[in-house]
């Protein structure tokens, strides 16, 4: 019952909610980022990180460090936190936590299929996969020649199976089709997740609806911008937009016919929440759009922690950690390549 979750939430979710809030307190603060941005080398970064929660994961790494090692070990911390919470969770929280990882599964599938298409070694690709999105038969993906085989051999046993109904064709896999496949799968996943949250009801449904709607809208804008000038027809583009969110359905109609960024901006400025994002960009500039979207996302994720007794805090924590790992990767790359002046271009402060 909406508003009375406080009475029964703690039976199954109280302990884990307290744990995830403890993890949130360990996210890097602005002071940490300032220290990290002033580092001269990757070893300095490792030293600064050893005082944070990443310490135990980085301390055994031999120097010279690589940026990929830092990112890998930090991701390992996220995976450990996630697995700890998943094994303690009961239904429906365990299903909710599993939903959070399906996005990574989709990314891993696309990574392996694309890599195989470009004749890379399967082992090398497996190492690049995100650990949260691994599943048992993932290596078999390298064998499939077209989507039907992909589905029949591997994906029918994974949680991604229901998302495939819209994109099974007998076409061979090539770059364009794979991107379309990725976006179709992700669209089905978002809609499924949205329906699941609505079924949970209460505060979880309210907060997750907002977060997922923002995600759907952001993806719609990115799909539009990335497909400007490609062979993707307007109808195909329309099919890739999710059927919920602030932009559905009228914004999608307008976005489908956009041919350049200024038209996209004109469409988005009709919606107050997105108008503030696009106001930060000057005309003709789209590099800062990603950062503006990330900042808006982080703001909404932090707001999810303001209420107690709901599941959206778990989703918010996972996303904030991923943002933090992106920040660390950017900082490490800037430091490693001696481009410290560009550090603040892409770091999104969480606190």
């Amino acid at each position: 019952m909406y508003g009375f979750e406080a009475m029964t939430f703690n039976i199954h979710g109280g302990y884990l909610e307290a744990i995830v809030r403890g993890h949130r307190a360990g996210l890097l603060t602005t002071a940490d980022y300032n220290n990290l941005c002033q580092c001269e080398s990757l070893d300095d970064i490792k030293m600064h990180l050893s005082a944070t929660e990443y310490g135990p994961y980085l301390q055994n790494e031999p120097s010279p460090l690589h940026t990929t090692t830092i990112v890998e070990k930090c991701t390992l911390k996220l995976v450990d936190d996630y697995k700890h919470m998943l094994c303690q969770a009961t239904e429906p929280l365990s299903t909710f936590l599993e939903y959070i990882t399906y996005g990574h599964m989709i990314d891993n599938v696309v990574l392996i299929v694309t890599g195989t298409l470009h004749e890379r070694d399967v082992q090398e690709l497996l190492e690049k996969c995100h650990p949260l999105g691994m599943f048992d038969s993932i290596a078999t993906l390298a064998v499939a020649q077209n989507m039907r085989e992909l589905y029949r051999l591997v994906l029918v046993d994974t949680p991604l199976a229901p998302y495939f109904s819209e994109c099974i064709t007998s076409e061979d896999l090539d770059d364009m089709n794979i991107e379309i496949m990725r976006n179709t799968l992700y669209k089905a996943y978002l809609e499924d997740f949205y329906k699941f949250c609505q079924k949970l009801g209460g505060t979880t449904a309210e907060i997750m609806s907002d977060l997922l709607a923002f995600e759907a809208d952001r993806r719609a804008v990115n799909i539009t911008i990335n497909s400007i000038g490609t062979e993707l027809t307007r109808d195909d583009r329309r099919k890739l937009y999710s059927n919920f969110g602030l932009l559905y359905p009228y914004g999608h109609e307008e976005l489908a016919v956009c041919e350049d960024i200024d038209q996209v901006r004109a469409v988005m400025e009709k919606y107050p929440p997105y108008q503030s994002i696009f106001a930060k960009l000057s005309y003709g500039e789209s590099q800062m759009l990603d950062k503006a979207f990330y900042e808006e996302e982080v703001k909404r994720l932090c707001l999810a922690f303001e209420q107690q007794f709901h599941y959206a805090v778990f989703f918010a924590y996972m996303r904030l950690r991923e943002q933090e790992i992106r920040n660390l990767m950017w900082i490490s790359e800037c430091v490693a390549q001696n481009q410290k002046s560009r550090v603040h271009d892409s770091v999104v402060f969480i606190f």
């Binding site: 406080a6 703690n10 109280g14 302990y15 744990i19 809030r21 403890g22 307190a25 360990g26 107690q308």
Partner: protein, 177 residues
């Protein structure tokens, strides 16, 4: 509702023995209070355990929330004991006299008052205690301020006890006529 006809609901109600009402009142007083206390304790306790993993310093201070919830159960026990001392036997001819019924209803109402006041008090203190533990883990200056809210919450149970005891004080059974 006329009590004139012997098969009306009114007659049925006044023919329930005042001993029954008193016993049910005492049961509700202790039973529902303990329900409220237990509810509050598990709400606070589960959050406290989880939060104390990352912030072990909060454990001893936040036991106060659990103690406030426990106090709610103690109020219920005290009032139940007081109520059961008020329960006296009356001669058979007097069982359905108006004075006996009054005493029976008084004990029943007293038990209900205390039971339900403590139920909501325990719930209230429990939910606040859970939020208190989580906020204390993030920022230790919040603890004392949230404790003030809990104190106001636990006053609710006390109100119930006070009214219940006043109610039961005037439960006088008729002596032999």
């Amino acid at each position: 509702m006329s009590t004139a006809s012997s098969s009306s609901w009114g007659t049925a109600l006044v023919r329930i023995s005042p001993y029954t009402f008193s016993a049910v009142g005492i049961a509700v007083s202790i039973g529902v209070s303990v329900l409220g206390a237990a509810w509050g304790i598990y709400i606070t306790g589960s959050s406290l355990i989880g939060a104390a993993i990352k912030a072990p310093r909060i454990t001893s201070k936040n036991l106060i929330s659990v103690i406030f919830c426990e106090a709610v159960a103690i109020y219920g026990v005290i009032v139940a004991i007081i109520l059961q001392t008020k329960l006296e036997s009356v001669p058979k001819s007097q069982i359905y006299a108006a004075e006996s019924l009054r005493a029976g209803y008084a004990i029943f109402a007293s038990g209900l008052i205390v039971g339900f006041a403590n139920l909501v008090c325990g719930l209230c203190v429990g939910i606040i205690g859970s939020s208190c533990a989580l906020s204390d883990a993030q920022n230790s200056s919040l603890f004392v301020k949230i404790l003030v809210i809990e104190i106001f919450g636990s006053a609710l149970g006390l109100f119930g006890v006070i009214v219940g005891i006043i109610m039961s004080a005037q439960a006088t059974w008729p002596t032999k006529v």
